[in-house]
Amino acid sequence: MAVVVILVLLAAGSVLFHLLSPWWWTPIASNWNYIDNTLIITFWITGFVFVAVVLFMAYCVLRFRHRPGNQAAYEPENKRLEGWLAMSTTVGVIAMLAPGLFVWNQFVTVPAEATEVEVVGQQWLWSFRLPGADGKLGTSETRDVAPENSLGLNRNDAATLDDLIIEGGELHLPIGKPVKVLLRSVDVLHDFYVPEFRAKMDMVPGMVTYFWFTPTRTGTFEILCAELCGVGHPQMRGTVVVDTEADYQTWLAQQQTFSQLTASAGGSSTAATADASSAQ
Amino acid sequence: MTVVMVFLAVIAVIIAWWLAQQRLASKPWLEVGHTHDHRGIEPVPAAKIGLGVFLAVVGALFTLFISAYFMRMASSDWSPMPLPRFLWINTGVLVVSSVTLHWAKVEAERRNDEAARTSLLVALAAGLAFLVGQLFAWRALSSAGYLLSGNPANSFFYMITGMHGLHIVGGLAALGRVTLRTWDAPIDRRTRLAIGLCATYWHFMLAVWVVLFALFSGWANDVVDLCRQLLT
């Protein structure tokens, strides 16, 4: 009997925990409430199955536990029942998969009007790059990483020179505008993760990965690294601020371009060494 | 990973073909009695099946290396390496080894112990010669400046040929043991079986080598491209 009671308590307790616990996702700040909805559907379907299976087990234990003189039924199979169960499982699976794939299609289709923002990860620091006046990001190469060019940008690319560079500072984004986040790493794997945005993606050295989202709520959000990147992994934090358009423009005007940065970093001597290193 | 998926599909077909003969749709609870065993009276020796399974594992290993090769090849830093001409000779030596081993098997089955012994020795010598030849190929390549870490194409060449060579070394050890056994005593049923197994293993390693040779010389690419065109 203890088994029956505990199984019932376990099912009920799990449901109550789900309903009453204070631990729930952070208030969303992007357009990906679709993801949240799919998650909710999945919770409903799986929760129902879990409770049903556990309660059915509890009932079986209660009803068919061994008592002297009992004999079990002899029933090798029941094709109809099995077929019916398989069918309803398939329906349940489709009910989860179909919205999932539908939303995934949105997730991988970047809207044409999305502006590009580059996030660069390195142990254990976030840096950002925004396209300058020409609206284009210049090319980059890990080989070009040097003390005065920590993002490995290509100096010979005209599009690079006016790119806005934010090293270790805050990233600001305007509200309501889709952003395509280009992700790059110069050393190991990282993962750009802002819980409130729901979306995340690994950053892989040697390639550029991406995802897109539209910020829907102003505020300051914390960037975490979600892919183990060495002993400093938990300390790799950054900040992203979602601004109103006016605030965003004010902030944008204060940022330095790549050419301004290199100029201020120390004149021609470093530039010469950098040329030498990139010539190798 | 396409290459390994194709390989696994072949394995899956073999397993499915075998399972299809095992009456998986029968209802065992209705069949009380001992007579439902459809296995033949003369069973295949366990060692033969064991070798077959082992070769499937080795096959998976090499196809995975090949899959990795193709995936890494997509990078821009890849520059193919010219193969030394005498890899052709090595290939010939391995073919000789394989053929003589097959001959040894045939002679042993005909109870020609003497001929079987001789061909075993020839096969053993040819196998050793192949290994030495491979070492020479390595030396020639590295003295020509194609170092292991120079380019991923080089790295793959050294690694995969090394792995193949290790399998040949293992085969030579087994072959050596069998040869010794034929020296001590007349060739009995067990030894005949062992010679046959060595021959099968050897043919397999030859086949692997031919595939690898095609891979390194670039023909495999053409084949893959052709397949791709056929599919699209």
Binding site: M57, R65, V145, R198 | L24, G33, A56, W78
Partner: protein, 592 residues
Amino acid sequence: MVDVRSGIGEAVPPAEVEDVELYHPHSWWTRYVFSQDAKIIAIQYSTTAIAIGMVALVLSWLIRLQLGFPGTFELIDAERYYQFITMHGMIMVIYLLTALFLGGFGNYLIPLMVGARDMVFPYANMLSYWIYLLAVLVLAASFFAPGGPTGAGWTLYPPQAILSNTPGGRDWGIILMLSSLIIFIIGFTMGGLNYVVTVLQGRARGMTLMRMPLTVWGIITATVMALLAFPALFVACVMMLFDRLLGTSFFMPAIAEMGEQLEYGGGSPILFQHLFWFFGHPEVYIVALPAFGIVSDLISTHARKNIFGYRMMVWAIVIIGALSFVVWAHHMYVSGMNPYFGFFFATTTLIIAVPTAIKVYNWVLTLWRGDIHLTLPMLFALAFIVTFVNGGLTGLFLGNVVVDVPLSDTMFVVAHFHMVMGVAPILVIFGAIYHWYPKVTGRMLNEALGQLHFWVTFLGAYAIFFPMHYLGLVGVPRRYHELGDASFVTDSVHSLNAFISVAALIVGAAQIVFLFNLVWSLRHGREAGGNPWRATTLEWQTPETPPPHGNWGKELPVVYRWAYDYSVPGAPEDFIPQNQPAPGRMSHEAAS
């Protein structure tokens, strides 16, 4: 059933399966140490696996102490923490679960359950164990090597696995880890060949595939998968060793580590992930399928009822085994691989849910109208169903590509895989040990200690991992040495972490009760007799208990029926052993 011919009257051929020539041990050493008897090898495998598993258990305590009470234990700094999680993960997945299910249960149960005298290649079987032991020793040696064990996370993702900011990356740690895995795979292949060929060739007369217990089906399918999947790990390890030791760039792109350019260039970290998960996903089922098989037999035996839908169970095992080779990239939805792969892999992954769900239904339907004996193995089987269903259902979150995006790399993942391939299979292992210990030793395990062990382990483990999902939902990432401050990390998150840690310590301590029971019952356990559970399968019908070398005395058993003749109507007892002819019923069948 026209083709059913009666067995009576015909002379039963005693053993048309070729009787194997057994190796006869000459000394104590060859009998008990360098033994070629699969049962001794099984015990050696199990003891070694449990021993190294205890190391993993202690590591999990240390991990939980740090997570529950960050900053309290100075001993557990970031470096050590990452070393602990890496070693804990790798030990549990490979050196405990794989070795115990296949090397331990496989070795003990396959020959006995299919009615063989031993494995077909006993010498290779013995070598398999010693090579496994070597792999374990090499792994353990990394604790004492300069720089300590690797702290790359059990997935060993390059580039960081072999770089200097990762513990053991430029020291011995990663080298020993990779070498140990390579050695393990070589040893496993030797054992695996044995398991496969023994099932193919060593079955007793009359033991057709559809008469095999599901335990054998589960173990053998898992072995075939392991034989085909482990080469991928082997290839990945060899290539990474080349990168680390010989300076090649298979996986290593151009890297500027702390601003300093390294010699590598052009390699692909994603290539490693593909190879790793091509092994890694089948690995999940390599652990799960033996558990599925064993739990089916536990439920059937202790509910005194045939397993419901046996054929469906067999097909499901085979289908799951096959499908598990085409889902690997669901571990890589946010890895940066081509996002369009997500459609394919999400679909295949969710398709696997169907045969898996059918298995669950058939387990609970076996309970329906059964005669449920709430023995310890049955309790563990029930607990398995609860935890497996829970963990399997959360798999539907993670497999459905878009839902995985917010949850991947969070504690939700940690909770999911611990529930589904940690807790659930280990509960089966416990159930199986309570079930087969009487056959192995001739004595029962102590019931009271077993009850204590069961309730603490089951409820404790559930209390650890069920709430942990919600940490992931909040957004807590995995592999964080300490959470630090973040806007979403409230005090309640910290208290939940502390609660989980306390539960983990208690569950860990309960395992000491279990180990004590194992040792104590060896001498003081109740005498079990040959077939204490009144089970049908062959291993319970041996002439002697524990079975001696060669298992069957003079004559091999002949099998007349499937493995699940429980509570057959009209039978004098509620079970009919597989090797027992039943004349009355059979002639009736033959007439029809």
